[in-house]
Symmetry: C2
Subunit: 88 residues, 2 copies
């Protein structure tokens, strides 16, 4: 796993809200943006921005499904990330 992507994943997780979003995604397996907006005390645009960062890091993927986007954790990337952390 490249240092650059590693750093991006760490950075993506470097915010309490994004940690919680990822935990939530792992728990529910999948999720649309609206559900997350309803849970957190932030605006839709803010949550969307957090999801964008998570997606850009590669740890989360989102597929468009009609008018909404279904987000989920990319298990392959998460596995590689966990393997790296374990190696520390």
């Amino acid at each position: 796993m490249e240092k650059e992507q590693l750093a991006n994943i760490f950075k993506a997780l470097g915010h309490p809200t994004r940690i919680r979003i990822v935990e939530h995604l792992i728990e529910l397996n999948t999720c649309v943006c609206r559900e997350i907006v309803d849970i957190f005390p932030y605006s839709q645009s803010t949550i969307s921005q957090h999801l964008k960062l998570l997606k850009e890091s590669g740890i989360v993927c989102g597929e468009v499904e009609g008018p909404r986007t279904r987000f989920c954790v990319d298990q392959a990337v998460l596995s590689r990330f966990k393997a790296y952390v374990k190696s520390l």
Copy 2:
């Protein structure tokens, strides 16, 4: 482990240079600032600042030793951090 500290550790590792510094500290077990400055293409003040962030997150600790500071990874914190990541 509290979300706030978790996020701080993730954030601290969210920079390629700081990842490398931590890897280096783990490898050598301990290190003074000057050695790191010699390795990386950044100024002493920049490296010192990176070390400060790492220290503030708790993942690294530094004890003053005469005119220099000896840095090392806090194994207890690293362990807890690794345990959290494993739980994802």
